[in-house]
Symmetry: C2
Subunit: 461 residues, 2 copies
Amino acid sequence: MIKFIRPAFLLVTAVFAQPSFVQSSFQKDSTFIKKIFDEALTNGKPYEWLRILSTDIGGRLSGSEGAAKAVSYTEKVMKEENFDRVFLQPVKVPHWVRGKAETAFIFVNDKKISVPIAALGGSVATPVEGIQAEVIEVQNFLELRALGKEKVAGKIVFFNRPMDPTKLNTFDAYAGAVDQRGNGATEAAKLGAVGAIVRSMTTRLDDFPHTGGMRYGVGVPLIPTAAISTNGAELLSKSLRENPKTQFYFQQNCETLPMADSHNVIGEMKGGTHASEIIVVGGHLDSWDLGQGAHDDGSGCVQAIEALRLLKKLGYTPKRTLRAVMFMNEENGLRGGITYADSASAKKEMHLAAIESDRGGFTPLGFGIVGTAEQKTRLISWQPLFSPYGLHELGKGGGGADIGPLGQQGAVLLGLIPDSQRYFDYHHAASDTFEAISKRELEMGAASMAAMIYLIDTYGF
Amino acid sequence: MIKFIRPAFLLVTAVFAQPSFVQSSFQKDSTFIKKIFDEALTNGKPYEWLRILSTDIGGRLSGSEGAAKAVSYTEKVMKEENFDRVFLQPVKVPHWVRGKAETAFIFVNDKKISVPIAALGGSVATPVEGIQAEVIEVQNFLELRALGKEKVAGKIVFFNRPMDPTKLNTFDAYAGAVDQRGNGATEAAKLGAVGAIVRSMTTRLDDFPHTGGMRYGVGVPLIPTAAISTNGAELLSKSLRENPKTQFYFQQNCETLPMADSHNVIGEMKGGTHASEIIVVGGHLDSWDLGQGAHDDGSGCVQAIEALRLLKKLGYTPKRTLRAVMFMNEENGLRGGITYADSASAKKEMHLAAIESDRGGFTPLGFGIVGTAEQKTRLISWQPLFSPYGLHELGKGGGGADIGPLGQQGAVLLGLIPDSQRYFDYHHAASDTFEAISKRELEMGAASMAAMIYLIDTYGF
């Protein structure tokens, strides 16, 4: 009978069995990783950088003035940190603008009740006078299709399937609901609907509409679509139960402008013996316009810069070339990630690994991976080095949207996994502000990424 | 060479080797625990209870009107939940009152700068006109004693050792700094100081003074003592570096009144086959007066009630008697915990286990334990059942202050361990409000405690 069995003990045993990972290197590595966390938690800079990015600059949707300021600001920060090379990489980005604030009302039993909505990114405007129509509430596309054109034509379709609160990882709940936001307008338009209203992607009940990207399918009419706050959705649903003739009115002025010029921002620490191999650490610099993009994804950007600063500050001389990359346009086009990977391919750059933080600046719990079984095993073998810092989820989940295209070139992809419980309280909403950031949690994420870079640079992958 | 080794897999193997824990019971247990979390995250009630406790009732220092209201309110809640028995247990509590708001100034180079302070709980008042004196800044008691009476007498001692930000568990950082708050005034008074000012117990730099308990040593003069906000502490330290003759002024009106009558609030689900064995789950109902006591420890109280509600809602029939206990007076006397244990002893009640939540309503990460090696092994054997919910820290850390006295009667003590990164942003300060609570995180803590009760009730300990 096995007693006093402890996972850490067993893993250390397993790790020591690997020739590259003898006790002396374990000591050296754990000592260096401790230094990384100590420096991050004592003299960390990302919180102040994020304050400026969030409160001084604010929302940074691709093509906006905020996005341009964020490019200049992060370029300046990395130059001030004396990275070996800091440069901008031109990226053509979609340019969608919200226009003036949306208005929406529920008309029920002679009452006109204002509810908070926000046009979804990519949506067309309503006519200037707005749209008013009866409402069909559905939970999913199957239910919608079963209703058929007869019942849907001329109406506003209301997609009201909530994120499943029982999913412990809120990203799983998001994945199970976000088809309504991405494709709801298209599915509704196929049946002749005149508009689509989507319940906001959050498990909270509050008054914040959560925007986000949507796409129109080919060959269907472009009908306007917006997110409604969860309280608004509850009210609309209740009104419809009480009176199926309830009407909804909304007016929005959003517009898609010609493609705009923007940039990825890249800071580099040159490598030594393996300089031709590149390790990327990054986040995305653009954000939705409603909030300040503090968690999504200002956090990831400042953590990436901080990860390199930490290594530099500790006098670490990388074997490989390290790059902090602020990707532009993750939210509505992924043009930054695609452009970066295209450029890498054209220049025959060899990317060993790419690490992304794009799940908020919360307490880090581990790293997801997209790689081979051997690479996953190697990641898990580092558990004893990570566990003192609470990083125990290794290998569950994937990388990140921006670094995805690099995976097709053979890079191992790693995604920082923070605690997910609060992320969708803020995601794509006006509540995504600097006040929602914990300094220590942000710093621990940056240190976790620096530790990961150190291990990959030291041992390869 | 061991490959693809995973802790969960190994532990499951270990667990299956135990006769009491065969696969069928694992399936049954994991299914029931899933139901607990599903109910908590779908229909959870603790958030609304905590809203009332925090925003409608607010601060609940022992002896205050808020504490009395909290007793009535939690009694009402448990009666509404139809617990088998709900009763009040009389407790005599210390009754300290802050009086009107404190004032403090730094006098340096003809400038008078206001800084935020808060009298420490148990402190005496200053004279009505306040105290003004030169300041001696020290990092610890050794440094203070080395200065001696000559340099300290007639001065205000300023204890300015920060919480160590590099401690990953912020409770370790707190433990390493809180002697200044608890005993600073006594140590300063021994050397003839006229007052003691203590840097607030937080790693943040902000304008909130964090109060907390202090005690005077026997036979030393009772000098007034207060916490200063960390920004205030930084400013005072800077002023002293620039001008060692910097003076500090403070005025406070706090007072210790005669002992007051209060209560523990207890809700019970009667046991079946082992009804004489009791399992307690609790938090403390009193809080400091500056904030709303949302994290400290309104969270623990509503989580304890919710833990029993969840089991009841799922139709669980306990073998043992389950009690949700709202302990009074943890903050400045522990009279509730002592009274409860004294009563248990007098009535010859047998407490099998006691579980406390008093580390904030954050994402739960595991349970600490005070028990035998065998009990710790048993706790760890439940890892496979807990790990789907992120509960991976089993057996690190202890129980809780209120349940401590029950440990002397042989009860196993368990402390819920939530993520600690944000706790001291709010602890004992005006920032400890309902707005700082995450609904999901709170609910997950309650579900974790319900799962623990279920396992203890099912398997003993």
